[in-house]
Amino acid sequence: MRGAKSAKWVAIAAVVALGATACGGGGDDNSSGSGKGGNGVISVEIGEPQNSLVPSNTYETEGGQVINALFTGLTKLDADNKVVNAMAQSIETKDNKVWTIKLKPGYTFHNGEKVTAQSFIDAWNYGANQTNAQQTNPLFSHIAGYSDLNPGEGKKPTTDKLSGLKAVDDNTLQVTLTGPFSAFPAQLSFTAFVPLPKAFFKDPKGFGEAPIGNGPFKMSGKFKHNEEIDTVKYDKYPDASKIEPKGVNFKIYSNLDTAYKDLVAGNLDVQLVIPNSGLPTYHKDLPGRYIDEADSGVGYIGFPIKYNKAFQNADLRRSISMAIDRKTISEKIFLGARTPADDFISPIIDGYRKGACDACNLDPAKAKELYKKSGGLPNNTLEIGYNADGDHKAWVEAVANQIQQNLGIKVVAKPFEQFQTILNDLDAKKYQGAFRMGWNMDYPDMENYLRPIFSKDAIANGSNYAGYVNQDFEKLIVEGDHAPTHEEAVKKYQEADDVILKEMPYIPVYFYTLNSGFSEKVKSLKIAGHNILWDTVKLS
């Protein structure tokens, strides 16, 4: 099993370089015998979605891919990983707080119902209401009225409508946020913000087994748990002419290695993540049929700053960072499936600066000096915790060895059963050592790499496991939210980024890369945000 598949979705600007398709003129329509044969249906590997297929309850990549094929939201990512309008004709705001969204006409749900502004409002009201306990509930917190729908456990919400949502007419949606938030259009690209038909509210449970969307593909039959989710092309989709596949068959695997064998044998058409076992050979196994692109994930080493005084010195944290040889880790341990981190922001995000992190360069001499200056660690011993159920042992041990060598202190890699176990010990202030940590974005904006991990608010409500607090950082993030243009927002967020680059509450170690493969049946495809961009899929 692929672990609790919480690797949220991950954005990738994937450009497919195709070597082997230099066709000699003639139209060779021979599809290989993959999937369901040469009928234009392509099969895609996924893991069992964590929940039934309700968009607001889908907060992970596996179900997210299916939702993405079945639904179309207001915005989406293009192949360059930029946020562009999908169902939205225009998104306008004067103050980043009140947003007016005009819808493109012509979209219908697969049961024929017209998609209107109300379809979005109903869906978001459902997602934001604590009574429905949806996984993506916190994503709606920027919309005005969210707190009325979430009074807390044991209390009943007094209303079931977000006060910030208003349908001006069938094709115009007005959204009022609790405060200015410049990343709102980026957030709308997340699959939790898609519209829902009236049929959903009659039977949410049944809907989750056979969802009715407004996207390029519609369900063919029901969700067959642990086996497959079968879809066919929806002919009334406004952009149907741009969609080449006649259907998508999501095949559910419990094991990536098995899926990879199926891909090589031609029984599977697309695998988004090639497993570690395939990494040494996939370029040879899949000649010209692979994608290697930067992905959105970041791997860190974190410190329990909030209760372990030893780690409260920034020089100490910087010295540990400088003792890590990120290049060797990426190339030798991950065989190129990671790249050395040089910023807190992923390279695919607008605002990433190459080499921004000066303490991310290996410099043993300076590291030793800084370590001495900082006063060092008690007994000169450092523990790095990792969860043994993921593929973390090898790299954490390698990092431990490097720090041990370069700083001349004792470093131990400490296995925990699951990531949660580390989390529990951190919450209980029981564990004194450093720990590994990873982050994948929810939406492609710099803000999403900063606030949920390093802001004060994220200590209780987010993933600020270090318990890091810095007033300058807080101020700059808010300034970014208020910025009138995207460019100015990026600038402010970069200043906030500079604060943590200096302070290093976490140490960025590597960026994820996306290594995907496809069968001979597919000529090319592009991937963004861990979703296949269906209008870019060309069949051979």
Partner: protein, 308 residues
């Protein structure tokens, strides 16, 4: 005989209650929070997590949680997973897969194992005997996941003789290779068991008498010797039937078969107590039934054994 069966069946009730309680306690004792597990490495939203914990009674003490569970079971409700799927639904979807795999595997190991054992006992010390001995040694020493992966790669990916994984081709195509892999170790044990017990029986007095009386060899071996030699084999097969139903975790994983084993591994990981308890209880019931069947088989094989 009838009374014996009823008595055995009555014994099942305390066993089930005991087993569910023990398993419940064990899964309860595992560290980790099933609601946080749903959110992975990001922190679950505190408010939503609290509501879910409340809904699934996770804040209550162990005995209350067990009471919620077991009172549900007695009214026919096996409960639901922490993402809202009925467990009865999971069982009815997954059990047929495991059942097909287990029974196919059972047939493979029984037929091939017993045949190989007989051949090897009859040709003791000859070439064929040595072939069986070496083959069984190899099978016993290769771990199941290695054998599974290698056969999958050679037969599925390279030669394309069998499906690589999944059950979309249905029974028997999709099940044959996994069943052989699953049966491999037990098959080897059975062959060896049959060989040793049959060689012993062949040398026994009653067999010599039968031969001296002029009975045809086929009848002597097939009826008199075999019947006695099969007792340890039936014991082994009976226990193995239970093990096949629950022990296919690795095989189901390698061949991506949505059976009970796969679900069990996943649910233990996600700390889904009701699922683990439900599935394990089901496996215990199968195990008990297989056991009872074995005990009844003894009487058929050896008329000297009586139940009262």
């Amino acid at each position: 005989m009838g009374r014996y069966v009823v008595r055995r069946l009555l014994q099942v009730i305390p066993v089930v209650i005991g087993v569910t309680f023990i398993i419940f306690c064990l899964v309860f004792a595992l560290p980790g929070d099933p609601i946080q597990a749903l959110a992975g490495e990001k922190r679950a939203d505190p408010n939503i997590a609290a509501i879910l914990r409340d809904h699934y009674h996770l804040n209550e003490p162990l005995y209350q949680q067990y009471w919620h569970y077991i009172s549900g079971v007695f009214t026919g409700d096996l409960g639901e997973t922490y993402n809202g799927r009925a467990i009865s639904d999971i069982v009815s979807q997954r059990f047929p897969v495991t059942l097909k795999l287990g029974l196919t595997s059972f047939a493979v190991e029984a037929v091939i194992g017993i045949l190989a054992g007989i051949l090897s006992a009859l040709k003791k010390g000859k070439f064929l005997d040595n072939v069986v001995l070496v083959a069984t040694l190899v099978l016993i020493s290769i771990p199941v996941f290695v054998l599974g992966s290698v056969l999958q790669l050679e037969l599925g990916v390279n030669l394309k003789l069998t499906p690589v994984a999944g059950i979309e081709k249905g029974w028997p195509q999709s099940y044959i290779l996994p069943a052989i892999v699953l049966a491999s170790t037990s098959m080897a044990y059975i062959a060896r068991l049959v060989r040793s017990s049959l060689t012993e029986s062949i040398r026994a007095d009653y067999v010599r008498t039968a031969i001296a009386k002029g009975l045809p060899r086929r009848r002597v071996i097939g009826l008199h010797a075999m019947r006695n030699s099969l007792i340890p084999v039936v014991t082994f097969l009976g226990f193995d039937l239970g093990a096949l139903m629950g022990g296919a975790i690795i095989t189901e994983r390698v061949f991506n078969m949505p059976g009970i084993g796969q679900q069990l591994a996943q649910s233990v990981y996600l700390r889904e107590r009701p699922v683990v308890v439900g599935l394990v209880t089901l496996l215990v019931l199968i195990y008990l039934a297989a056991n009872l069947l074995v005990d009844l088989m003894y009487a058929v094989l050896d008329p000297r054994i009586r139940y009262e």
